[in-house]
């Protein structure tokens, strides 16, 4: 049995940590938070493109590095730990993944090399305001080669060049590829809970688009895409949870009250122990999901939902209790606690609400006729 990342993968992790510690310290994330006109950290993005991270999951024939999903999981965890402000998740976990899974040969040839090279940023345009998107509620339409309707929030929608749009076409729902820089597209940034993950409204009025995957298969493709992306989001969340716990631990050790370190108060010790428990459960579930993703195992739907639900919980728990551990300082703009708290919330709904994932998890459990002991 080998349930560990390999030595090479761990080298990649070290390289990633070095890069992120130097290029994307929390002060860099904060710079994006502080400036409403900066949607992401362009230097960090350029740096990670140069390192080849945007091409990790893309085969060499399409200009990628041709590593694999375990490597992508490693990077996701480190990006999550650092809170780096980049459109990586939208571009890599969603747009690139959708092209890899459903793209025609021509679509892959035309887009994957540019995504790998970081020339193009991609995203997924699904939501249309509040509430869980369903085929009956979608208003965005496709007809005769073009899209019309509003999508919001679209993660990184303001900076992306390419979008996978989920739209209705007569009776069915399908995925479409469209360029966001072309005619018939207008977009505007919308304020969000985590300004280091920008959100936009994207409005289509006759924007040229082409089908991605099968006509009428939009919802099943979405299911596939979400199962894969959920694993990567979960790794980001798990990395974030670990970082928030570590921040709380460090602060508690150094902060004194009543003549002793607050880390010696049992209420604080047990709080940190609970954060460790939540984060360990999530981390272990991520490992299993990484295995399922990298081997295309039939367990993927259950493994992905399990990783996602426990990672949502762990990051929320760790980020909110990190603030509590800091006392009044934790509540200030100046302290970095807020960045974990904001990111945890943004990631918890970005890919569909916690409840929607709990629902998927139980559906997968029900389908899993032979429950493992």
């Amino acid at each position: 049995m080998n349930f560990e990342f390999s030595d090479e993968q761990n080298l990649l992790r070290e390289q990633a940590q070095r890069f992120l510690v130097e290029q994307s310290p929390l002060s860099a994330v904060r710079a994006v938070l502080d400036d409403p006109d900066t949607p992401f950290d362009a230097d960090v993005w350029r740096g990670l493109v140069e390192l080849g991270w945007t091409g990790v999951s893309i085969p060499e024939q399409y200009g990628g590095v041709g590593l694999g999903y375990l490597e992508l999981c490693v990077l996701a965890e480190e990006l999550g730990r650092s809170l780096a402000a980049t459109p990586y998740a939208s571009s890599v976990y969603l747009a690139t993944e959708a092209l890899l899974q459903f793209g025609s040969e021509a679509q892959k040839e035309s887009w994957l090399p540019r995504l790998a090279a970081g020339e193009v940023v991609g995203t997924l345009a699904l939501a249309e305001g509040r509430g869980r998107p369903r085929p009956e509620t979608l208003q965005c339409r496709y007809a005769q080669g073009s899209l019309s309707g509003d999508k919001l929030p679209v993660p990184d929608g303001e900076v992306a060049d390419l979008a996978i749009v989920v739209a209705v076409d007569g009776p069915g729902v399908s995925m479409y590829l469209t360029e966001l820089t072309g005619a018939g597209v207008s977009r505007s940034a919308i304020p969000g809970i985590d300004p280091t993950r920008s959100q936009a409204q994207v409005s289509f009025s006759g924007a040229a688009a082409e089908l991605l995957g099968k006509d009428g298969s939009g919802m099943t493709q979405l299911e596939t895409l979400f199962n894969r992306a959920a694993v990567l989001y979960a790794f980001e969340q798990s990395g974030g949870a670990q970082a928030a716990l570590e921040m709380a631990r460090k602060y508690a050790m150094g902060r004194y009250a009543f003549g002793r370190s607050i880390a010696s108060f049992q209420a604080i010790k047990h709080k940190l122990a609970d954060m460790y428990i939540a984060s360990t459960l999530a981390h272990s579930n991520c490992y299993y999901a990484a295995w399922a993703l990298s081997t295309d195992a039939p367990e993927l739907p259950l493994a992905a939902a399990t990783a996602r639900v426990s990672a949502i919980r762990a990051f929320h728990e760790c980020s909110k209790e990190n603030i509590q551990t800091h006392g009044g300082m934790g509540f200030t703009w100046e302290f970095d606690c807020q960045m974990y708290y904001r990111r945890a919330k943004a990631l918890s709904v970005n890919l569909g609400s916690p409840a929607s994932w709990e629902d998927r998890l139980v559906t997968a459990l029900e389908n899993d006729a032979a429950l493992e002991a």
């Binding site: 049995m1 080998n2 349930f3 560990e4 990342f5 375990l70 631990r249 508690a252 050790m253 002793r260 370190s261 880390a263 010696s264 049992q266 604080i268 010790k269 047990h270 940190l272 122990a273 609970d274 460790y276 428990i277 360990t280 459960l281 999530a282 981390h283 272990s284 579930n285 490992y287 299993y288 990484a290 295995w291 990298s294 081997t295 939902a305 399990t306 639900v309 426990s310 919980r313 409840a355 994932w357 709990e358 629902d359 998890l361 139980v362 459990l365 029900e366 429950l371 493992e372 002991a373």
Partner: protein, 409 residues
């Protein structure tokens, strides 16, 4: 990443399975039993004997004590395989898991030769006489006295919560030899014959109504000095060896779990709909599945490290805290799902099976949260040993035992 056994592991697993399938029934094929505790013990002893005759009794022990010197990975594989079968192993868990290792480490050659084979072959069952009315989490606060008398020690005092004492033949015992020094320093450790004159065993009924543990009273009980384990005053060090083994031995709490709840939720209905379709039910199932899978996947990480000859990380420290609380919550919710009928144990068939499982787990779970280190003590351990936070302030530190304030509890 893969979950495959190495060729050696696969071979070992096949060997284990061959023995088990030839000699036991799979849990899945077994029918529920109705037997007394005495009948259960007889069956357990027979199973232990059969295993011993075939070198499966305690595979992690060295060969000279009936083991195979198995690797941690082989021990886990055997445990996984044996757990699939309907076999009675529980009475030997404390003896083989905690008493055996301490005997092998500290007992004289002569005593090892006399006692170990009987333990391994299931002739003798062993118990652990540690906790006292005034010493549970704070075990070192114990006050059962030992006093030297020639070649013997005379024991007076009381132990409590001793699992299995009423059917046990031998026990390990920690006592106070010197009350004038700080609590950890004045302890001395022994093993003893549970049939020794002066021992009185009184069963304690637990919440479920069963009586699996006992009060054990000592009035002038004599133990030969040769049965002392470790030096006089070194009892704490010896106890720690067994407590470490206990933390390894106390694994996942058995009982009602997610698959049972899922199955029940399909059969129960809420307002004419299967309960499984109710969002509140789904939310809970999802949460508990995350814990269950998280523990399993944590175990995989530990196994992976062992399989590759590495030292596992501290992740496993979360196992008992998570699984005991889950057992309580899952069984509680299972009863809730039965609505007004949840109070009933059930008449027969599936109804009775459900009742036994969910009532039984509900009534057993509080004990799981206490035995082998309470939830709170385990959180202290995670905080201190894993996260490196400071130890609790100890108001009794450095104070002689007989000057430390004792409460009324």
């Amino acid at each position: 990443m893969n979950f495959d056994d190495t060729p050696q592991e696969a071979e070992f697993r096949a060997e284990a399975r061959a023995f088990l399938s030839a000699n036991a029934t799979l849990k899945a094929d077994a029918s529920p039993r109705d037997e007394t505790e005495a009948e259960y013990i007889i069956r357990a002893k027979a199973w232990q004997k059969l295993k011993a005759d075939n070198s499966w009794a305690c595979i992690n022990y060295p060969k000279e004590f009936g083991g195979r010197g198995a690797t941690p990975m082989e021990t886990i594989i055997w445990g996984q395989e044996e757990a699939n079968y309907d076999v009675p192993v529980q009475p030997f868990a404390i003896g083989l898991g905690m008493c055996g290792p301490v005997m092998m480490m500290y007992a004289s050659e002569e005593h090892k030769q006399a006692r170990m084979p009987r333990m391994v072959e299931g002739v003798d069952i062993w118990c652990q006489l540690f906790s006292e009315p005034g010493a549970g989490s704070d075990l070192a606060n114990l006050r059962t006295r030992c006093e030297r008398d020639g070649d013997d020690w005379i024991i007076n005092g009381q132990k409590i919560w001793t699992s299995g004492a009423h059917y046990c033949d031998w026990g390990i015992l920690v006592t106070r030899s010197d009350p004038t020094v700080p609590k950890h320093k004045g302890l001395t450790f022994f093993f003893l014959d549970m049939k020794s004159p002066g021992i009185e065993i009184r069963p304690i009924r637990q919440i479920s109504g069963d009586a699996n543990f006992n009060e054990v009273y000592f009035s002038d009980v004599r133990i030969p000095d040769s049965q002392r384990l470790g030096e006089v005053g070194d009892g704490w060090k010896v106890s720690l060896t067994t407590l470490m083994n206990e933390r390894l031995a106390v694994g996942t709490a058995a009982g009602a779990d997610v698959p049972h709840l899922l199955d029940l939720a399909r059969r129960m209905d809420i307002d004419g709909e299967p309960a499984i379709n109710n969002p509140a039910v789904r939310e809970k199932l999802a949460r508990w599945h995350c814990e269950r899978a998280g523990l399993r996947n944590t175990r995989y990480r530990v196994m992976s490290a062992l399989s590759q000859g590495k030292t596992p990380g501290p992740e496993n420290s979360i196992t008992k805290v998570v699984s005991a609380a889950k057992l309580q919550d899952v069984s509680c919710f299972g009863i809730d799902l039965m609505d007004m009928g949840g109070v009933m144990l059930g008449r027969d068939g599936q109804e009775l099976l459900d009742g036994k499982l969910f009532h039984g787990s509900f009534l057993g779970a509080p004990g799981m949260r206490i035995a082998g280190g309470t939830d709170e003590i385990l959180r202290n351990i995670i905080a201190e040993r894993v996260l490196g936070l400071p130890q609790d302030v100890r108001v009794d530190k450095g104070i002689p035992f007989n000057e430390v304030e004792q409460g009324s509890g």
